[in-house]
Symmetry: C2
Subunit: 476 residues, 2 copies
């Protein structure tokens, strides 16, 4: 019997596990090995804010598959194993086992890079104090929730007003923490236009969150840990290994100092600076794209034969822009992982691309976008027209209806729909998908106005907000 | 100054009022007159079940615009006026005024038929007993709610398991009525495939609704009205005029007799047999289509010059079937009314057509469809493939997630998406719209699988039910 072909998957979360499971189904004969640096595989990282908040009681609910379950399917998944180097010519990977402290060399025939992203910690004085967290891994989520429950912090500062910042504001507030979001930019959610960001800000402020824009964090001030409780939590924090190596064991954060003022804080969440983990790719000779993530084609191939890349380590092709972007979201990672797997396992598949569709919840508000914002379109040289409407999510007389603000961006010359942003407390997340479909179909605003959308008073008004916007855009 | 051009709109509800308001905006110089047979204009008929249930406290909330408000905009809207005849050659309409009992002749230059539909009452013994209602007009809705509140019926029979039947089952149950739905067909909701209909039936039965399929109502048995309360309600019923003319004043319904058995009933809702009000059109020489509703082109023109038609009196072009259907829903009526108005007022507009998108709520369940059912596609000679999946509306670990059953129908040869049916308690109504867009874009199941849909745990799973279905369809 011939030696089995071996696939190594670097990274065992969204893209990696999607890839491993798919490769198994496509090719039952392949040997499939996953190496994951953290202690867990196949976890729903997007659920962490809800675990921390308490909507999700147990972390187990976020762990889709264990290594034992993967083994039953014939996928060997090794946690706390880091692929530290790849020899693409000889097809060998150097794998470090955190449990044993040993390095070994594993041959491979095909390799999928799915190493994800990390949150970079800037070199700010006090950055390693206890109580300052970022949120990427299961270990991070466990530690933050335990810190909240055991330390009962009163003041929290979130650095960065992006997705994680907005979600964590809700989570911290649920624990009775008075939250301040500090961001160096002049608006929240930099991917959105300023008038939508202003609506988010107003809602957060109505929920009691303090928003400080245009401020740079310059240092963190700590205080000595004194109580037994603190020591217990500290022990927990220290027990998480690798990624928190620089932690200062004896001090915890007390104050966040910006270039303008300082804020009391007994918990800090670092929600900025998500960066693809490309060091391994670069070492292996895999080329990066203009966004500094791994460049891939539609089949998720890198420039190196037999190496594919998928998920937050890689770029994704933006169908409206017509160029690759860095868009490290789980739904893209899962799709790319499957595509990489099919190709690595001997089949043929292509990633259809993204139009940048995303949604985030903060308190009761849903914030969604697809395609280009006005500023992004203008920055790319488009001659755009746009409008913003306010309409109701359901028939105005029905319980549960809420206003939706919808901004539509379209090409002034061709009338092609370029993007939309939507915000509201009801019926936003699914509605954005209709416009995502319109973008993928390359529709004009006239096509959009012709949409045959479902109507019933408990779910939508007779003129859906999308149709209202399209009619206004068409000057009809 | 030249004499103003005059537009007469026959019917003042969805299509009619949409037309009148739009014509006013397009052409400020036109004289615009609306004649409405009932006592109210511009009402949200789709909201009646929620008024009857009590979700909507006051009927005023369903009345979007009064004749006085229309007058301020320069539209003369006359209620309790019926256009009884049209002379298309001389352009004169015979108008009967119910208040004065007088008929007059009104000249017109342009005319829009928006007379809507009626529920036909079959010639069944006892059909005119008190307590037997259909639901089309404000008067019907007021009477039914009052009957429920004052008579406190214990047993209700709904004849017909379509949209109105499902909605009214919820409304009656909210008043403590034990509900039985009787339908001559062998499934509820004949526009759906049987396996989806079976899921609706199971949910209704779980809510305590008795479902009797394959039974024909043959007669109604009454009893003499005895109490003061009954007399008050009877007086109310009699006060509503025209449409209830045959009402028997002294008896109320007690029992519904079918070809198989009989059911106690102190309230009966007739929810079958919605038919376009085409008598006037036929008298005027306006041609009907194959569905027996008024035939119109994309500009809502009839065969008679200067007469347009819109809404439930007319057909609508089905984009997937490639032929006209009868699809008397408010969202189509509103769009067609606008199109008719633009053209009648001297502009140029076209109706984009329908793909048959619809949603209905019954108890906590949403039932949605777009495009063709499997049986409809097969009946038209399509070689179809289809599948049904069950998936979750949100991340499986989030509060509020619920299963969604999604049936996807596609062309076996071309892989083109032909239709979808969706049922569930969360996230159904907006999701169907994404597939509606896919139908309008003439997508294949592969295109559907490439959709870039928003993901966040509180709103959707990382693999949206639509993508799950598309992946299964693509055998991926």
């Amino acid at each position: 019997m011939a030696k089995k072909e071996r696939l190594i998957v670097v990274g065992g979360v969204a893209a990696g596990m999607s890839a491993a499971a798919k490769a198994r189904r496509v090719n039952p004969d392949m040997e499939i090995i996953v190496y994951e640096k953290s202690g867990y595989i196949s976890y729903g990282a997007c659920g962490f804010p809800y675990y921390i908040k308490g909507d999700v009681a147990d972390m187990e609910a976020l762990l889709a598959r264990t290594p034992a379950q993967m083994a039953e399917q014939g996928v060997m998944a090794h946690t706390r194993h880091e692929v530290q180097a790849i020899d693409a010519g000889r097809r060998v990977a150097a794998v470090y086992d955190y449990a044993t402290g040993r390095k070994r060399f594993e041959p491979w025939d095909k390799l999928i890079l799915a190493a994800g992203a990390s949150i970079g910690r800037p070199s700010i004085p006090g950055i390693n104090l206890n109580g300052i967290f970022s949120l990427r891994t299961v270990e991070d989520a466990l530690t933050i929730r335990r810190w909240l429950e055991e330390m009962q912090p009163r003041h929290g500062v979130i650095v960065g007003g992006g997705y994680i910042g907005l979600e964590m504001a809700e989570a911290l507030a649920a624990h009775g923490v008075a939250v301040t979001i500090v961001d160096a930019a002049d608006q929240l959610m930099s991917s959105l236009d300023v008038e939508i960001a202003a609506l988010i800000q107003a809602e957060l402020e109505a929920e009691g969150v303090e928003i400080r824009l245009g401020e740079m964090v310059q240092s963190f001030i700590g205080e000595r840990l004194v109580t037994d409780i603190t020591q217990r939590v500290t022990a927990l924090v220290m027990g998480q290994g690798g990624s928190r190596g620089g932690l200062d064991n004896r001090f915890r954060v007390r104050e966040v100092v910006t270039d303008k003022q300082s804020y009391p804080a007994d918990v800090v969440i670092f929600g900025v600076g998500s960066r693809p983990n490309v060091a391994l790719a670069q070492q292996a000779g895999v080329k990066l794209g203009q966004t500094w993530a791994v460049a891939v084609d539609a089949r998720q191939r890198t420039n190196v034969p037999n190496i594919w890349a998928a998920g937050a380590v890689a770029e994704a092709f933006h169908l409206v822009l017509g160029e690759p972007i860095y868009f490290p979201l789980a739904q893209v990672a899962s799709k790319q992982g499957r595509v990489a797997a099919v190709n690595a396992a001997g089949g043929r598949a292509s990633f259809a691309g993204t139009v940048g569709t995303a949604v985030v919840k903060t308190f009761d508000l849903a914030v969604a976008q697809t395609g280009l914002s006005e500023k992004a379109a203008r920055a790319k040289g488009w001659t755009v027209d746009c409008l913003m409407i306010e309409a109701t999510s359901r028939a105005h007389y029905m319980p549960g209806h809420a206003p939706i603000h919808l901004k539509l961006v379209f090409d002034k010359n061709t009338q092609r729909v370029l993007g939309a942003q939507m915000i509201g407390k009801d019926g936003v997340a699914q509605r954005i998908n209709v416009i995502a479909a319109a973008l993928q179909a390359e529709w004009t605003i006239r096509d959009l106005a012709g949409l045959d959308l479902a109507y019933a008073p408990p779910f939508a008004p007779v003129w859906d907000p999308i149709l209202v916007a399209a009619n206004v855009a068409n000057k009809e």
